[in-house]
């Protein structure tokens, strides 16, 4: 079955054009042009991925992003006209997995979508332990004791990348390549924001992390198994 992609953008010409590109690439696009209707469209179409414009009539893209994130971990890619304003960070903080700056070319867009839709690489082990957490790799689940912690697929992948090689210190560039699929220098804020979001979910005290540790000046590594 083709992956269904919800395109939330008020510019109908652009939506249509994106639709043409996506169809050419074998996706199944559905459209929504209003921020207020975005959540309803999301609930009725159950897409595999959301392309979300930040500037929308009605609710802003950031609000929509937070609403969708509230009920689903489905990958969200922001479409933004601004590359270096705080909007990108706000979008990421409200739960978007990645962003594409307008004007983008079709290959770039498709590459970003494919990275987010690819299945998690299955390692040799089914169960990993990091800190006091248990990662069920096949089941895409994170457990603290008996309690399940809800992570988005991206957050799970980020944690999995760190946990699968606990001795390794990952630079932000390595994580960008492994988790986001960037093979060139990209925005390291992606990593910073998502590490913060991940810590907020899995750490007992996010200000004093024990699972995703910062290595100053280098990057991150997994905490000791406890």
């Amino acid at each position: 079955m083709n992956a269904r992609i919800l395109v939330v953008d008020d510019d109908t010409a652009l939506s249509e054009m994106i639709g043409i590109v996506l169809r050419t690439e074998g996706f199944d696009p559905v459209f929504c042009a209003d921020g207020n209707e975005a959540l309803a469209a999301f609930q009725s179409t159950r897409p595999d991925l959301v392309l979300l414009d930040l500037m929308l009539p009605g609710k802003s893209g950031i609000e929509v992003c937070a609403e969708i994130r509230n009920e689903s971990g489905v990958p969200i890619i922001m479409l933004t006209a601004k590359s270096d304003t705080t909007d990108v960070v706000r979008g990421l903080e409200s739960g978007a997995d990645d962003y594409v700056v307008k004007p983008f070319n079709p290959k770039e867009l498709v590459a970003r979508i494919r990275t987010r839709l690819r299945p998690t690489p299955v390692g040799s082990t089914d169960v990993l332990r990091v800190g006091d957490l248990t990662l069920d790799v096949a089941g895409h689940e994170v457990l603290r004791g008996e309690k399940k912690i809800n992570l988005t697929p991206l957050e799970f992948e980020l944690l999995l990348a760190l946990a699968s090689r606990p001795q390794q210190v990952f630079t932000r560039e390595m994580l960008l390549e492994q988790v986001w699929g960037y093979h060139y220098k990209a925005d390291t804020r992606l990593v910073n924001v998502h590490v913060q979001r991940l810590r907020a979910k899995i750490e007992d005290d996010p200000d004093n992390p024990k699972i995703v540790m910062t290595v100053r000046g280098v990057g991150y590594r997994a905490g000791a198994t406890g």
Binding site: D11, L14, M17, K102, P103, N105, P106
Partner: protein, 543 residues
């Protein structure tokens, strides 16, 4: 590369005192004014007081001396008359003479009116042989020791218009005194010296009292002048100090601060004009800030409004471009042209937006620790293909810069790409060398080509917007004409410098120097402009 640590000399604390005192002196107008006023008025009072003291002292002495001399003279005459009249007839005998001298002394003491008379004495002048001698006699308590040989000689000599001689002496207890001496001729008994001693202690006391009064009065006057100066200076300096503080706050951007306006005097006028100036400054700045905000809003809006249709065009162009082989040749070429020109338009738009962001002051650095050598090598690697197409070989010579520095990697990479692009474009296929080095407080890279170079006249214009070295030249790498202008802005945002050297026919070199961290300033760039040509030794990294 270990950082050189210059040994710092530790100075003892007191070595700083003169400097600190000097600083206090120079920094404190109030203290300085009061100190100078007190010193000068103190000097004036001291001179005046000394003059008055000396003049009163000599006046007191002179009047006492005249009085004493007149009295001594009268007493001498009286004694001489007494001797003359009594001894002219009588047959002199020893008893008579003793009696006479005692009578004379008693008479003198009885008639003496001047205060401080300590006593009278009659001495026989030495070295004479007479028929009879009168025993020397003196009143009780006469301080004989104060009569000097000098005075005795003068008295014995008895020449000159005066009949009396005097000398200023000091008594055994330190009080000043006058000794007056005269010569008496006693018939048959020869010459006798008559001495009077007058104590000037009372005059000295008067003088001391006057001096003390003068000293106290002078001190009080100086203190009073000091206090008055302090108050006056405070009245004047106080508002000036307030004005200075307020203008500092204004300069620091606290635009709402004003000087309190009180009264109608010149200080109040100063305060009013200052506040007027501050009002108009605040108004202007607010207006400019508003304009800048509008500009930023405009830039953001244009950015969004232009980019959305451009994205659609781009997507459409790319879809067509991907299928250009299926079109008739003319349509296929059209799709190609559309594709490349949309790309060019996109780059131009991005550059324009970047420039307008700089103009609006809406740019912030995203600082991260970066290894400059690695950044340069990455950038060079990404440009190597383009360079090879133009026949240029790029080499990196990195003598330093291996430690991480705080910088916005995206902007520095953009500068380097731009410089490399220019070097490849104008390098005429000759080798290009990228130098990287660092020193104590700066890091730098320089891009050196060996192409046509730039005329001296044009050299000042290379950073101008949309300026091109040779408008007729074919553009191969694109470029919007804004690259160097943006690079210059990026460099100054890092508080660094982007400089250019060029020699027609010999090539061009752009050098970027950045401070190691933004708080430090650059003293000297680690790389010379132009850098020395590398010799083919081990330092050359031919990666």
């Amino acid at each position: 590369m270990p950082e050189d640590r210059t040994p710092t000399l530790r100075m003892p604390a007191w070595r700083g005192y003169p400097a600190r005192a000097l600083h206090f002196w120079r920094a404190n107008l109030q203290f300085r004014t009061v100190a100078i006023t007190v010193a000068l008025s103190g000097l004036a009072v001291a001179v005046l007081g000394s003059y008055m003291s000396v003049s009163i002292g000599s006046n007191l002495f002179d009047s006492r001396l005249n009085q004493v001399l007149a009295e001594s003279s009268r007493a001498t005459n009286q004694a001489q008359d007494f001797f003359d009249s009594d001894l002219a007839t009588a047959d002199p005998s020893r008893t008579d003479l003793e009696f006479l001298s005692n009578t004379v002394l008693a008479n003198i003491r009885a008639t003496s009116t001047s205060p401080g008379g300590l006593g009278v004495a009659i001495y026989r002048s030495p070295g004479q042989q007479t028929a009879v001698t009168m025993q020397p006699s003196q009143s009780r308590g006469f301080p004989g020791e104060v009569i000097s040989q000098e005075l005795q000689d003068a008295v014995m000599d008895n020449t000159g218009p005066d009949r009396v001689w005097w000398q200023s002496v000091e008594l055994s207890d330190g009080r000043p005194a006058i000794v007056v001496g005269s010569l008496l001729t006693v018939p048959n008994a020869g010459f006798y010296e008559l001495y009077f001693v007058y104590d000037l202690g009372d005059a000295q006391e008067t003088l001391s009292f006057v001096q003390q009064t003068l000293l106290l009065g002078g001190l009080a006057l100086v203190l009073l002048i000091g206090a008055v100066t302090y108050i006056v200076v405070r009245l004047v300096v106080g508002p000036v100090r307030v004005a200075a503080e307020v203008s500092q706050k204004l300069a620091a951007g606290q635009l709402e601060h004003r000087i309190p306006e009180r009264g109608e005097d010149v200080i109040a006028t100063l305060a009013r004009s200052f506040n007027g100036m501050a009002d108009s400054l605040q108004e202007q700045i607010t207006k400019l800030g508003e304009l800048s905000r509008l500009q930023q809003r405009f830039v953001a809006d244009v950015s969004h409004e232009l980019r959305t249709p451009l994205t659609t065009i781009r997507l459409a162009g790319d879809v067509l471009y991907d299928q250009r082989d299926t079109f008739p040749p003319a349509t296929g070429r059209t799709a190609e042209l559309l594709h490349t020109q949309v790309q060019r338009f996109e780059i131009l738009l991005a550059d324009l937006l970047e420039v307008s962001r700089y103009d609006a002051g809406a740019v912030e650095l995203e600082i991260e620790p970066t290894n400059l050598v690695r950044l340069v090598e990455d950038a060079v690697d990404s440009m190597r293909l383009v360079a090879n197409e133009h026949g240029s070989d790029i080499r990196v010579v990195a003598a330093g810069g291996y430690f991480e520095v705080e910088l916005d990697a995206r902007r520095i990479r953009r500068i380097l790409h731009n410089l490399l692009g220019n070097a490849i474009e104008h390098g005429e296929g000759k080798p290009i060398v990228v130098f990287v080095d660092s020193n104590e407080d700066a890091v730098a890279f320089a891009v050196r080509d060996h192409g046509i170079g730039i005329d001296t006249d044009d050299l000042t214009r290379v950073f101008d917007r949309f300026w091109r070295a040779d408008p007729s030249r074919k553009r191969t790498i694109g470029g919007t004409g804004l690259g160097l202008a943006i690079s210059l802005e990026d460099a100054s945002l890092h508080r660094g410098y982007l400089e250019v050297w060029s020699e027609p026919g010999n090539g061009t070199c752009f050098r970027l120097t950045l401070p190691r961290d933004l708080k430090r300033s650059i003293r000297v760039s680690p790389i010379d402009l132009p850098p020395a040509e590398p010799t083919d030794d081990l330092e050359v990294d031919d990666a």
